[in-house]
């Protein structure tokens, strides 16, 4: 009787070992079969999404110059979509300005895109002057960039590396200064 019971356990255990080995070998095979072919990563597509090429745009600044995102290829860029009436946008702008000052010499650029279709150019100008912003303030007068970047909430920030790839999207705010500095340093690493 005892021998039968022990035999039952051994039988069950050996069946389990065979089952486990089959599963393991199937897993190894599946990993090998499903490898990612070279050059098929997401970065070949354009989308307002982490890991994808940032959609290009060209907008006028408050002073009437035209700035295109594609002209900044090779430099890490922070695209920040904002409005003058948005409290978190106002709260994070001083930190963005400080980080811009510290990293500008290394090639870091900020494109502060004012969602002018839901704001006022006069208020945007006053906002920039009041906070002493030195980076380009772009006017998205007809909301095209907002659409391209699937804007759902203000502020929204896109950290773009020197290859034009979006490395992170931060929806909402305010972003802390430490977050900005860490992400900008990461952008420099990714751009190398």
């Amino acid at each position: 009787m005892i021998r039968d019971q022990v035999g039952m356990r051994v039988h069950l255990s050996s069946k389990w070992t065979i089952f486990s080995l089959v599963i393991f070998l199937a897993g190894v095979g599946w990993i090998w079969i499903s490898r990612v072919p070279a050059g098929s990563a997401g970065s070949q597509f354009t989308a307002a999404r982490q890991g994808f090429l940032a959609p290009d745009f060209s907008l006028q600044t408050l002073t009437g110059e035209t700035v295109a995102l594609s002209s900044l290829r090779g430099q890490p860029v922070l695209i920040n979509l904002w409005a003058s009436w948005c409290a978190p946008c106002r709260a994070e702008m001083p930190a963005i300005q400080r980080v811009y000052q510290d990293y500008q010499a290394q090639g870091f650029q900020v494109l502060a895109v004012n969602t002018t279709n839901q704001d006022d150019p006069g208020k945007a100008t006053a906002f920039a002057q009041q906070l002493g912003l030195k980076f380009p303030i772009l006017l998205d007068s007809n909301g095209i960039v907002g659409q391209q970047y699937q804007l759902q909430s203000l502020p929204t920030s896109f950290f773009v590396d020197g290859n034009g790839i979006i490395r992170e999207v931060v929806v909402g705010g305010p972003m802390s200064e430490a977050l900005l500095r860490v992400r900008v340093e990461d952008l420099f690493k990714d751009s190398r």
Binding site: I2, D4, Q5, V6, M8, R9, L12, S13, K15, W16, T17, F19, S20, I23, F24, G27, V28, W30, I31, I33, S34, R35, V36, P37, A38, S40, A41, G42, F45, T46, A47, R49, G51, F52, A87, A95, Q152, S153, L154, E168, V170, V171, G172, M175, S176, E177, A178, L179, R181, V182, R183, E185
Partner: protein, 260 residues
């Protein structure tokens, strides 16, 4: 996709909200099924709360330690609400350590506690899939299959839907109070300690191992190997090995009535 819900001036991050809801629902389910087990419902919920708080604190502390110079220039950022300033592995380690310390102080047995937590983990896994659907994370690789969906410039696998379906299957498989993995036991109380949790771990690892192949955002190792699949294979092998060990130690009467 719905990454943000706008409530007046507030922008609520939908994925975070879904994960919180999943945690709450899962913990509720786990607490309701502690009756008859060695684990006390209030100990279980306290364990989770202690683990969560320790995870958050640990994740922030490790992040600060990774970038000491940056936090020295803006020390107030240590208390920032930005979830981007959290270290995932630091958080997991801190949560586990706090959980183990709390469990030991309360005299909670490891495998029985993990079994009791399994329904909560399974519900959380479903909510993780839903949160990915909301945020767009874990999106699919390009495909020509008829059920592919148009997303970000091409037709892709609905990878988040696969993830939700797999998680729902796992939840059904480990639902409290019924035998797991077609092992026929005399009664649920005759299952070896840890069997439910190990089954959950093995099924989850197997699903991730299989489904990661359809993802378009996999973290890659050399030769195009996917990191998630390698980790899943290790977890799958470890859980199957441990389940085999549990089968060897099974009580004699239970073994006689068991069948794979």
């Amino acid at each position: 996709m719905l990454p943000v819900i706008r409530l007046g001036p507030l922008a609520v991050q939908t994925p975070g909200l879904i994960l919180l809801a999943g945690l709450w629902l899962g913990l509720n389910l786990a607490e309701r099924h502690t009756e008859g087990s060695e684990v006390n419902a209030s100990d279980l919920s306290n364990l989770v709360i202690v683990g969560l708080i320790a995870s958050l604190v640990g994740a922030r502390l490790v992040y600060v330690l990774r970038y000491p110079a940056i936090f020295a220039t803006s020390p107030l950022s240590i208390f920032s609400l930005n979830p981007g300033l959290l270290d995932l592995w630091g958080g997991i380690a801190a949560g586990l350590i706090a959980g183990v310390v709390y469990g030991q102080r309360k005299g909670m047995r490891l495998w029985s506690t993990l079994d009791a937590l399994t329904p909560a983990l399974a519900v959380f896994l479903v909510s993780l899939g839903v949160s990915h659907l909301a945020s767009g994370a874990g999106y699919g690789a390009p495909t020509n299959l008829p059920w592919g969906i148009q997303m970000w410039g091409t037709v892709r696998h609905p990878a988040q839907v696969y993830e939700i379906l797999a998680a729902a299957f796992i939840l059904w498989a480990v639902w409290p109070g019924k035998p797991v993995l077609r092992i026929k036991w005399k009664g649920s109380s005759n299952q070896p300690p840890g069997w439910r949790f190990l089954s959950f771990l093995a099924l989850t690892a197997a699903c991730y191992l299989f489904l990661e192949a359809f993802h378009g955002d996999s973290a890659l190792l050399p030769d195009g190997l996917r990191t998630t699949q390698i980790v899943a294979l290790i977890l799958l092998a470890a859980s199957l090995w441990k389940m085999g060990e549990q089968l060897k130690r099974m009580p004699k009467e239970t073994a006689k009535q068991s069948e794979i």
